[in-house]
């Protein structure tokens, strides 16, 4: 039934039928570890047709009968060329193994394959492998997924120590961060200095900023898809590192050779361990650390592949008898890949994901305050791929997610008794179905068209609130009436179609023009009014009062690869325009913590973001790296704020220049340097003051919001890696790094305060998160 329907869909696209009725299908894998390779290009040089492996490394390609020259290529691997003969109507199922590329590779090979970025239909998409991430020195010499992402065009951050990242003028909650398909609600360790992804366990990271395909949904601005390693299924291997702030280790290996493997990777910071001798008396129970654990097992048969992966991590700051803070994510993902035949591939995923934080104060005696908040979700999704023919590939599927929000269980205890400030749970069900078609008209022109339909149900049991109109725009709304809805009663139901479109026109072998449109809908909102997001920000579902956020994004780009002498370069220019609706804004002085009437503190605004991104990358030779420049604007407009005129968002940065470079001196020494320049973020300045009842009150003068800029941000990081000669199975290196090499005090913000204790004067204070040079040493090892 489905097949017939899909064929019908394919009929809308011409060029359906050729004399290609033999098929080759299978997985592309790394021959050293057995890891599947996504995004590899499988080509028949004979038929001049090609296909790209999906997220699970699977491909299926229709061939004409006869002898074929097959070429398989992928970034960081040597090309594989082979010949095979296939009979009419024959179906060959075969896995191919690629050899990881070693540094000094023949340039002929190199040049032949560096056009994947030009050929693929994906626009505004950047992939970074775990291997590349490890080469980029980050804070304290530790490789970091999010810090690497922040060096890509279109990606910014409000500053050091800020959680998350901003993509093309979107707020941090508008990024769908996935780890083995399970959403991560806070990707920060140590308030954002590190991210929760252990680079030893990461296989591949893909950031999609525009032209987002229909199989993704739920956030407005981007998808960060982090895929963890499956684990080497050929031999045992161990990786690890001892750093200034934390250590990490991982072990992977076969459970049954070529059939089943595992990986387990962990990290723990040890400030508290080092501090222990200094802590005595009543502070001896203090703990300050973070940890994370990533583990995965997989098992494969001829037609099936099963994966089970999990992540657990926490940040814990606990000062004995004073205060404690704890936050962390945990996820469990189970996946089942199935190959029905040479045309049909499916993946079924179940995941559970939870974000939890806890805050407590205690005087160790009779006084305490304890606050816990959760967001829990369980999801089931199924994705099907139908490889109709070399010109048509169809994907469809659906997903259903049940959310439980616990905005705050808060209890205060003192000598007089207990006060309960807890807010009741909220419940929601999110459903989505999608259909997407990749149509490759000829070698030059291809289209990806898709439709996603999402439904969000805000469910009981809950109290439901309706609010009065505000006295004036931008003012707090007060409750009008309250009623109860019983278990699973529908309070709000939002159904939204989300069309998606992408196209590519290949100008020649080395250049192409690509475009994309996507409409995205978001029903989970991070309620945060602070300069940088805090771990204690609360996620809220869309309700009868909070409308689904929507975004339309248009993007177009020119991609060109070229060579200067023996040096190969990839380059691109992209431009985008994003139109945002139902953006969450806040009344002046909004009270967002444990507030039953939170919805009355929110204002609905609109937003727009536009920009130009230039990218030049060199991935071969002794000197590698990239230069990325982004010219961008991100603006918001909300009733009652800035006199209802456009104002720059907190993360608006006009110029962003990132230079990432690595230089391989010889077998032993590698050098790396990163330079970052970003225009200052906007802020609001006071201009006047007055006194009422003895209190000095600052006066902004007008309703202006974000009318002045903080100074520009710039920084240079350097690192030197010394690799020791491999001894037997043991490989190791030392990384010496310097963060903020020329010792700049980059301002995070300028704020105003009154010095009540001393002068009683108003002051402007510049706050820098890192105000000096930060050197670090770390030691990394590998055993295999």
């Amino acid at each position: 039934m489905w097949t017939r329907y899909l064929l019908l869909v394919s009929l809308f696209f011409p060029g359906y039928s050729f004399a290609q009725n033999a098929t080759i299908s299978g997985f592309i894998k790394d021959n050293s570890s057995g890891e599947t390779i996504k995004g590899a290009v499988v080509q028949s040089l004979t038929d001049k047709t090609s296909v790209i492996t999906n997220n699970y490394g699977y491909f299926s390609l229709k061939l004409s009968d006869g002898k074929h020259d097959i070429k398989i290529s992928s970034k960081d691997f040597e090309n594989l060329e082979t010949t095979l003969t296939i009979a009419e109507n024959e179906s060959i199922n075969k896995n191919f193994f690629l050899k990881p590329e070693i540094e000094e590779i023949e340039e002929v090979n190199v040049r032949a394959k560096r056009n994947d970025n030009v050929k693929k239909i994906d626009i505004s998409t950047q992939s970074i492998t775990g291997k590349v991430i490890k080469k980029i020195p980050a804070f304290l010499g530790e490789a970091d997924v999010i810090k690497s992402i922040q060096l890509l065009p279109g990606v910014t951050t409000v500053g050091e120590g800020a959680s998350g990242f901003n993509v093309r003028g979107g707020s941090i909650d508008q990024n769908l961060v996935l780890m083995d398909e399970a959403p991560i609600f806070n990707s920060a360790h140590l308030f954002g200095f590190f991210s929760i992804f252990n680079p030893d366990a990461v296989k591949d990271v893909q950031l999609v900023k525009g032209g987002i395909p229909a199989n993704y949904g739920g956030r407005l601005s981007s998808v960060l898809d982090v895929i963890t390693k499956d684990g080497n299924n050929k031999k045992y291997q161990a990786n690890g590192g001892i750093g200034t702030i934390f250590s990490r280790g991982s072990i992977e290996g076969p459970i049954a050779k070529d059939k089943a493997s595992f990986i387990i990777a962990g990290r723990r910071s040890y400030i508290d361990v080092l501090a222990k001798p200094f802590l005595n008396d009543d502070l001896s129970g203090s703990r300050f650390y973070f940890y994370d654990l990533t583990a995965k097992v997989n098992y494969e048969t001829a037609k099936d592949r099963f994966f089970l992966s999990t992540y657990i991590g926490d940040d814990i700051f606990y000062a004995a008898n004073a205060f404690g803070v704890k936050w962390g994510n945990s996820t469990v993902t189970g996946r089942w890949n199935h190959v029905y035949n040479d045309k049909w591939f499916s993946n079924v995923t179940y995941y559970y994901s939870r974000y939890r934080y806890n805050l407590e104060f205690s005087n160790g005696d009779d006084l305490s305050f304890n606050w816990t908040s959760y967001i829990n979700n369980n999801s089931l999704k199924a994705d099907f791929t139908y490889f109709a023919n070399p010109k048509n590939q169809i994907g469809f599927g659906g997903q259903s997610t049940y959310y439980i929000f616990t905005p705050g269980n808060a209890i205060a205890t003192n000598s007089a008794g207990t006060n309960n400030f807890s807010l009741p749970n909220k419940y929601a069900l999110e459903n989505a179905i999608y259909l997407t078609e990749d149509f490759n008209a000829n070698g030059r022109f291809s289209i990806r068209a898709g439709l996603r339909v999402s439904q969000f149900l805000y469910l009981g049991k809950s109290k439901v609130y309706s609010y009065q109109d505000p006295i004036a725009d931008g003012q707090r709304r007060f409750v009008d009436s309250i009623w109860e809805v019983g278990s699973n009663g529908v309070i709000a139901n939002y159904i939204n179609p989300e069309p998606r479109l992408g196209f590519k026109y290949q100008l020649n072998r080395f250049s192409s023009v690509k475009g994309g449109y996507n409409r995205m809908v978001q029903n989970l909102h991070l309620i945060s009014n602070t300069a940088a997001s805090v771990p204690f920000d609360v996620w809220q579902p869309s309700t009868n009062n909070i409308l689904p956020e929507k975004a339309d994004q248009y993007t177009i780009g020119y991609f060109r690869n070229f060579s200067i002498g023996k040096q190969d370069f990839e380059s691109s220019i992209e431009t985008y325009y994003k139109d945002l609706q139902n953006q969450v804004d806040y009344v002046d002085g909004a009270n967002l913590l444990l507030n039953e009437y939170l919805e009355g503190e929110l204002i609905t605004g609109i937003g727009r973001a536009y920009g130009l991104e230039l990218y030049l990358k060199k991935s071969t030779g002794k000197l590698t790296g990239w230069i990325s420049y982004t010219l961008a604007r991100s603006e918001r407009k909300s009733p009652g704020i800035n006199d209802f005129n456009w104002y720059p968002s907190r993360f608006d940065r006009l110029h962003n220049l990132y230079i990432v470079s690595q230089y391989s001196l010889n077998d032993k020494w590698d050098l790396a340097a990163n330079f970052i320049f970003s225009s200052g973020t906007p802020t609001t300045f006071y201009s006047g003051q007055y006194t009422v009842q003895g209190y000095t009150i600052p006066d902004a003068g007008t309703n202006a919001r974000n009318n002045i800029r903080n100074p520009n941000y710039h920084r240079l990081d350097l690192s030197v890696t010394y690799t020791k000669k491999k001894k037997g199975k043991w490989e190791s290196n030392w990384v010496f790094s310097v963060y903020n090499a020329y010792n700049r005090r980059n301002p995070f913000s300028i704020y105003f305060d009154t010095d009540y204790e001393n002068t009683g004067q108003n002051e402007a204070i510049q706050f820098s998160v890192i105000g000096s040079i930060v050197p670090a040493i770390s030691y990394n090892f590998k055993w295999n």
Binding site: G161, L190, I271, L274, A275, F278, N280, D281, D282, L283, S286, F288, L367, A412, N414, A416, N419, F421, T530, A531, A532, V534, G589, A590, N591, E596, R650, F685, Y686, S687, G688, Q689, Y690, T691, V692, Q693, G694, Y695, T696, I697, D699, A700, G701, T702, F748, Y751, F752, D753, T754, Y756, G760, A764, I765, Q766, F767, S768, V769, I770, G771, V774
Partner: protein
């Protein structure tokens, strides 16, 4: 020993957050608007009631002397009976009115009062309702506290306020603290309450909860000494006044990573027409007050 541990912890945390630092910098800012400032917090007690009018000054003006506005007409009007009470100018921006029970010139709980100010061709108006306050303060008690010393808390005598919120939701109070007859005007001590606590959260009609009862009635690192006089007044405010106080409280110490955007603090006084284009700042609240005081004993 304790001190040493705390130092170690701060060192360690400092090491984690490295050299996070704050520098006082020079910023040149033009004052955009010279606003007329209304400071009108009056009550129904039978004593001189004062309203002050000034002009706002540039943010970095260190003189802290707002120019007084002396040529205004200031009238309070009972919106039910249309009875008018004239405030007359004394000095330094203050306008005064004496209630007179004999002639019925008093303010009544439950009534709405309009404040009318005419000055420099502008008419400025606002309305406030005289809400009832609590019946009485049950007691102000001293409690000995053993502290760790700076930067946490100093050992010594601190006070707790025992008073019951009025029955029924939606009562708002400003609890004023006077130490040796000087009113505390530190924002850290600004003590406002919605029913029994910071947020209403359905808690009603019983003793004020902890922060209202204890924390804000005590000054940071300044325990009370013997023979000091402590007076507390519970003054009823309007809901708008409560939110206005909350906003100015949030603006204090609002820096660093987790700062919220500075806001334009709105007044509840409005300019009719606004001929001068200068705008109005400040706040007007009319309330009822009860107070009590103690002398700190050994």
């Amino acid at each position: 020993m304790k001190m040493k541990s705390i130092l170690s912890i701060s060192l360690i945390l400092g090491w984690v957050f490295l050299s996070s630092c704050e520098d006082i910098i020079d910023v040149q800012i033009e004052q955009k608007q010279k606003k007329i400032v209304v400071d009108a917090f009056i009550d129904n007690a039978i004593k001189t009631q004062r309203i002050r009018l000034t002009e706002s000054i540039p943010y970095f003006d260190s003189s802290k002397t707002e120019p007084p506005v002396s040529d205004a007409q200031v009238v309070l009007a009972d919106t039910g009976s249309f009875k008018l009470f004239n405030f007359t100018y004394k000095e330094n921006g203050y306008y005064e009115w004496e209630p007179n029970p004999a002639s019925g010139d008093t303010l009544q709980v439950g009534r709405n009062y309009a404040l009318l100010i005419i000055q420099g061709g502008d008419t400025i108006v606002g309305v406030s309702r005289l809400n009832p306050t609590i019946d009485k303060i049950d007691s102000i008690r001293t409690v000995p506290v053993e502290g760790n010393g700076p930067p946490f808390i100093d050992s010594g005598k601190y006070i707790e306020l025992f008073a019951k919120d009025r029955q029924g939701m939606g009562d708002f109070y400003w609890i004023k603290l006077f130490r040796n007859d000087t009113q505390n005007s530190r924002l850290n001590n600004l003590n406002i309450s919605q029913d029994m606590g910071n947020n209403s959260n359905g808690q009603d009609g019983d003793y004020f909860i902890y922060p209202v009862r204890f924390n804000r009635n005590n000054e940071f690192l300044r325990p009370y000494r013997q023979d000091e006089k402590v007076r507390i007044e519970v003054y009823s405010i309007n809901r708008e006044t409560f939110y206005w106080f909350q906003i100015i409280q949030n603006q204090a110490n609002n820096g660093g990573l987790f700062a919220t955007p500075p806001v334009n603090i709105q007044s509840n006084m409005f300019m009719l027409g606004d001929h001068s284009g200068r705008g109005v700042a400040g706040f007007y609240n009319i309330g009822a007050v009860v107070g009590d005081e103690i002398i700190i004993q050994e």
